[in-house]
């Protein structure tokens, strides 16, 4: 059996506790910002740091280390305590800045391996790590494999570490796809147009076989490979990732969905959840913290665990009536009314991850 020992995050609202408190009040950290930092259309972003880099060292690096001082421990990255890095941006902010000003001192941070080496050095971590990069399901992959390694008695503990800080590279890209536009997102809301928001975020979770009140029951992965940006139109991808979970879920379940604010995916996700888990409230928090991309699974897991500890989970921040389906929950609710949590993420290419958690 695998248990979650600890999980923390930082978002534009602050640390885990501040983030939860703000979401419980329905507060959004989104602000309209020029999409390229100092020029371009204004789009909703939840930033911890300014979008454009001024210094050569990433503006988020020291705050990342300062946010999680408890992780400064050389045991991480040793043979029995591997690290699973699970992000999507890594060094693209420095790469973009380098492409603009050709300042060669940025090069150390402009690659994934360069950024990871700096982070390892600052935290004092060893060399037993893997770096996953699969867009918004990256966190799900890391948790899945870490859990497997524990179940196989290959390791003693695992650290899943995620960080994604925005830059014009990614905000410009999503804006060009027209889904990051001037509109504020309303996840799972049945309206005329869809829109997303992006956010800065970082988080970790620690897994081990030592008993805690939060058990990771199973994870499920699926990749539709039907199209690059959309989902297979019948929702088969959502059905496929949820089916194994539905066979193992025994209790009263609530669902933290992906729910970015796009229409088609929102309908497909909420339809699939309603079909397999008709009594389970479905929420999304991206209307409050933005979509933190590769780090979203681990960031939102940290918020969910904080919610379980505090007894209340936020509803779907930013949702407006009419809602897409009857299972979508707008308001906060008691986590003690449930004993299971389903965490969902999905990504370009129709990638899906699902985690089933049981708690006391």
């Amino acid at each position: 059996m695998v248990f979650i020992q600890g999980s923390r995050c930082i978002t534009a609202h602050g640390d885990t506790s501040d983030t939860l408190d703000s979401l419980l009040l329905g507060k959004s950290a989104l602000k309209k910002v020029p999409v390229l930092g100092d020029e371009g259309d204004e789009v909703p972003l939840a930033l911890i740091h300014p979008l454009k880099m001024s210094n050569t060292t990433p503006r988020w690096l020291n705050s990342l280390v300062n946010a999680f001082p408890n992780l400064q421990d050389s045991k991480w990255g040793s043979y029995n305590r591997p690290i699973f890095f699970t992000s999507s941006n890594y060094g693209v902010d420095s790469l973009y800045a380098f492409s603009q000003d050709e300042d060669t001192s940025r090069k150390d941070f402009a690659t994934t391996h360069g950024v990871i080496e700096k982070i390892r050095s600052l935290f004092g971590w060893g060399e037993n790590f893997s770096i996953f990069s699969h867009a918004c399901v990256s966190g799900g992959l890391g948790i899945d494999l870490a859990s497997k390694a524990l179940k196989d008695d290959e390791i003693d503990e695992a650290l899943i570490f995620s960080f994604d800080f925005l830059s014009p590279f990614v905000t410009g890209g999503f804006h060009s796809l027209k889904i990051l536009n001037g509109e504020t997102p309303a996840p799972f809301s049945d309206r005329e147009f869809g829109s997303i928001a992006l956010g800065d975020g970082a988080a970790y979770c620690i897994l081990s076989k030592q008993k805690s009140n939060i058990q990771l029951i199973c994870s499920s992965l699926y990749n539709e490979m039907d199209s690059f940006t959309g989902n297979e139109e019948t929702g088969s991808g959502f059905d496929s990732v949820l089916l194994p979970i539905s066979k193992l879920s025994k209790g009263d379940l609530w669902i933290k969905g992906h729910g970015t604010g796009t229409l088609e995916a929102g309908f497909l996700e909420s339809n699939a959840c309603l079909k397999l888990f008709p009594d389970s409230p479905l929420v999304s928090w991206k209307g409050g913290i933005g979509h933190t991309l590769g780090s979203c699974a681990v960031v939102e897991l940290a918020i969910a665990i904080e919610a379980i500890s505090n007894g209340e989970a936020p509803g779907t921040v930013g949702a407006i009536e009419p809602l897409m389906n009857s299972n979508i929950e707008k308001d906060k609710f008691k986590t003690s009314d449930f004993n299971e949590l389903l965490m969902l993420s999905n990504a370009f290419g129709g990638a899906h991850s699902a985690l089933l958690v049981r708690y006391e």
Binding site: L36, E39, G40, G77, S78, Y79, P82, S88, Y90, L95, Y96, F98, S99, Q100, T104, K107, A110, T111, T112, H113, I116, E117, G126, E127, N128, F129, S130, I131, F132, S133, H134, A135, L141, L145, K148, A149, D152, E154, P168, F169, G172, G173, F174, S176, L177, K178, L221, Y222, N223, E224, M225, D226, S227, F228, T229, G237, S240, F348, G349, A351
Partner: protein, 225 residues
């Protein structure tokens, strides 16, 4: 010690500017309209995956240090008039998605990995964790860049490799093993995919050995090519 048998191993190398012969290898693998929009790395993945079946019992592990370099270069230079296709194609793991979306080939377990130091070990570690799969495909590749390569921020070569691993020893080419750090062996970590391609091309026994990652060894059957 854990073992996985090597059922297939192949690699390819393209010239700095792919020759007409090299492009002819992929000409018939994709419809021309799709092929024209694919990245060089996507085409190389397509050539390696040609004839390789992927089913629900297959796990795919994809590794690349720099991924879609040429697309990233063009995308960066497109600012402030950002290219949506450039953005889409630049997102890891684009190259494998290009092939599998064309095939409409879904898969359960797909693990895109990146990095440089210990990259081969990351792929092998993931393979050994995927021990419920009937087959594990490790795919890796790099495409040569232009101005990013000049700044050592992209690959200098166009190369790709494929390994198919399983617990099936029959007709295998050899095996890969995983064990604890070997204090009697030299410490050596991979620094990208070139060591994987060398292992496949030369079919000489080799190993990676580090205190934190442990030891991974390639053993090839004598006489197999």
């Amino acid at each position: 010690m854990s073992k996985l048998y090597i059922n297939e191993a192949k690699s390819l190398h393209w010239d700095d500017t792919p020759s007409s012969d090299q492009m002819a290898q992929v000409k018939d693998l994709f419809p021309s309209k799709i092929r024209r929009r694919m990245t060089r790395l996507g085409l190389m993945m397509g050539e390696l995956l040609h004839g390789v079946e992927i089913d629900s019992n297959t796990s795919i592990i994809y590794v690349s240090t720099f991924a879609e370099t040429l697309t990233i270069e063009k995308y960066l230079k497109s600012f402030p008039f950002v290219s949506p296709q450039g953005f889409q194609m630049s997102i890891h793991p684009s190259s494998v998605e290009q092939v599998c979306v064309n095939r409409k080939q879904p898969m359960d377990r797909f693990f895109p990995i990146t990095g440089k130091f210990g990259l081969v070990e990351m792929a092998l570690n993931t393979a050994f964790l995927e021990n419920n799969a009937e087959r594990i495909i490790i795919l890796g590749g790099e495409e040569r860049g232009t101005w990013l390569t000049d700044h050592e921020l992209a690959s200098e070569i166009n190369e790709a490799s494929l390994l198919i691993l399983s617990k099936n020893e029959k007709s295998s080419l050899g095996y890969v093993s995983k064990s604890n750090f070997d204090t009697n062996s030299h410490e050596f970590q991979s620094s990208g995919l070139k060591e994987l391609k060398t292992a496949i091309d030369q079919k000489k026994d080799t190993y990676f050995n580090s205190l934190d990652r442990g030891k991974y060894e390639f053993h090839w059957k004598i006489g197999n090519e």
